[in-house]
């Protein structure tokens, strides 16, 4: 397996507070990799550094062997890295259909086309994506008025519309009930398999993580303290101390 995404000695400090500390990390093509860690471990920062939402203080991010450190988000996504966000991040006053269609138009470099009417653009593909995430019947509804779980599904559809090679999901089940969580995970599992996507996701629900990941890395205080197969990570004494020791409740 070759590394699709390769991160070398990445640092990020916010005026003295180190959120990412010397992280070196490879994501292999086709693998499903979970980043776990307690709240404040630096998971979201780590994602932001990959997708260009933040600039690293030191270190580099390579995608397919090409250095993409510091490239702005709108260019990163064009390279084939899509992500969902921990907090709902959609276009609230647009319809569900339009939310996805806009992403497709951007993928096809049509966003600046002023004389190309939008009504017939990517209708079939938009509907197919909505069908994939189970939102086809809500296509005409205003996105901001959907239930929370459905907005999360919509986020996934938007991310998929970018036709990514790598999908980064930042806590895809945050704020969901146990049933919703189960459904969401099944959905992610199915979609990544169907599309052969490389998946990198953060999560703090351990149950969710072991269900679908090939490999797991544990982030703690901005540092990767363990990385490997799920069973190895589960049995790692350091991880057990963090998760099952004094932080057992928080991690549950």
């Amino acid at each position: 397996m070759t590394a699709l995404l390769s991160i070398k000695n990445l640092w990020k400090d916010f005026g003295g507070f180190v959120a990412t500390r010397d992280v070196t990390f490879d994501l292999a093509e086709g693998e499903r990799h979970a980043i776990i860690g307690p709240n404040g471990a630096g998971k979201t920062t780590f994602f932001n550094l990959i997708t260009g939402h933040m600039h690293p203080s030191k270190g580099s991010v390579e995608f397919r062997g090409k250095d993409i450190t510091g490239i702005p988000p709108h260019k990163v996504v064009k390279l084939g890295i899509a992500r969902s966000f921990q907090r709902i991040n959609i276009f609230p006053r647009m319809s569900v259909f339009e939310n996805v269609q806009v992403a497709l138009m951007s993928r096809e470099d049509q966003s600046l086309k002023m004389f190309k009417l939008c009504f017939d653009l990517h209708v079939a593909e938009t509907n197919q994506l909505l069908d994939t995430v189970g939102l086809l019947s809500e296509a005409e509804e205003t996105a901001g008025e959907l239930a929370y779980g459905k907005q999360k599904q919509l986020e996934l559809a938007i991310a998929l519309a970018e036709n990514p090679d790598v999908l980064l999901l930042d806590e895809p089940t945050a704020g969901m009930s146990p049933t919703e969580t189960g459904d969401a995970i099944k959905l992610v599992d199915r979609i990544t398999k169907e599309r052969g996507l490389t998946l990198l996701f953060t999560e703090h629900d351990m149950g969710v993580v072991f269900g679908i990941s090939d490999r797991i890395s544990v982030l703690h205080h901005g540092e990767i303290i363990a990385s490997g197969l799920p069973d190895d990570v589960r049995n790692d004494p350091e991880v057990r101390r963090i998760y099952l020791g004094e932080d057992a409740d928080a991690a549950a």
């Binding site: 997708t51 939402h53 702005p72 988000p73 709108h74 260019k75 990163v76 996504v77 064009k78 992500r83 966000f85 991040n89 959609i90 276009f91 609230p92 006053r93 647009m94 319809s95 259909f97 339009e98 939310n99 269609q101 806009v102 992403a103 138009m105 951007s106 993928r107 049509q110 966003s111 600046l112 086309k113 002023m114 004389f115 190309k116 009417l117 939008c118 009504f119 653009l121 209708v123 509804e141 205003t142 938007i158 519309a161 970018e162």
Partner: protein, 315 residues
């Protein structure tokens, strides 16, 4: 799928268009004047809404491009004796070019900083028009404007204006319903997410500003010829505020909203002035009511009424 334009919408457009075109048959100079002027301010308001309603930024200086279009055309026609077409094109071009430069700086900013910078640039334009007496005649106003013979007649000018405005509005409609227009709404709705679906958000906002400047220029060119004069007040911030109020009154989330707002506010001003001299008080009250109770304007109000009484089934 969002339908292009509903059948009733299309019919309404057609009726308004025919009514407008028939105005001169009523033999009323007053009516022709009113409709001509409403058409001009309507285009002005629609152009501003590209920035406000579609790109999600508030401009407090949109009068600048209106005034530049008007002045450049007026000066070229009168002082330099240019024919209509090149002169009008030059007026619109000057407005567009200025907008392109100003937008380059403004789109680096958002929110209140964006608004203040547009205001600053428009005050700069105002100051130049005010101080450059040899060219603009300063605060005495640039008048009279030499209006070419072909349109130097009330009815002829009315039809000329109507054709230009209808074409402009049609082009604006296409732009706002294009891939660009819809992506621009996404930028308004969520700049961050729009950027991360791969949209170059700053470029989009710049382009929107330039389009708005272009059509404000068109409106300005017509305005100068209609009034046979250009005055520094048309570049002043109060003019920017007035067109902003028109846009808000009509509703920024609908394409035709600003057109309705422009027509209603214009008529209200005319009628109020016939009875009292307290138009600013009335204007202030209108603004208050919109902001407090009806942020999506008259169009929003119309929709709410329709939902309540008609059908009510679809949300």
């Amino acid at each position: 799928m969002t339908s292009p334009l509903s059948k009733t919408g299309m019919a309404a457009c057609l009726i308004v268009l025919i009514l407008c075109a028939l105005t001169p048959l009523l033999q009323s100079d007053y009516l022709i004047d009113v409709v001509t002027e409403i058409l001009i301010v309507a285009l002005f308001a629609l152009s501003l809404n590209i920035i406000i309603g579609y790109s999600g930024n508030v401009s407090f200086g949109h009068a600048a491009y209106f005034a530049i279009g008007g002045y450049v055309n007026a000066i070229l026609l009168t002082t330099y004796g240019w024919p209509l077409l090149p002169s009008a094109v030059a007026g619109v071009f000057a407005a567009t070019l200025t907008a392109a430069v100003v937008a380059y700086f403004c789109t680096r900013l958002t929110d209140i900083y964006f608004a203040m910078l547009t205001l600053a640039f428009s005050m700069l334009v105002w100051a130049i028009l005010f101080k450059w007496r040899s060219l603009t005649n300063g605060d005495d106003g640039f008048t009279p404007v030499h209006v070419p013979a072909v349109i130097d007649d009330r009815t002829a000018f009315f039809y000329f204006t109507m054709i230009v405005i209808v074409i402009s509005i049609a082009v604006l409609w296409v732009i706002t319903h294009s891939a660009f227009g819809r992506s621009l709404v996404a930028v308004r709705e969520n700049v961050g997410r729009a950027g991360f679906v791969g949209i170059h958000t700053r470029r989009m906002r710049w382009q929107a500003f330039v389009i708005a400047g272009f059509f404000a220029g068109v409106a300005g060119v017509l305005f100068g010829m209609y009034h046979r004069g250009m005055y520094v007040e048309s570049a002043f911030w109060t003019q920017s505020a007035q067109v902003l109020i028109m846009t808000l009154l009509g509703g920024i989330y609908s394409f035709f909203g600003p057109l309705i707002g422009a027509a209603v506010l214009f008529m209200l001003e005319r009628l109020t002035n016939e009875y009292t001299e307290y138009w600013p008080t009335v204007l202030g009250s209108i603004l208050l009511i919109i902001l407090l109770f009806q942020p999506d304007g008259l169009v929003g109000l119309g929709k709410r009424i329709k939902n309540k009484f008609g059908g009510g089934g679809s949300p």
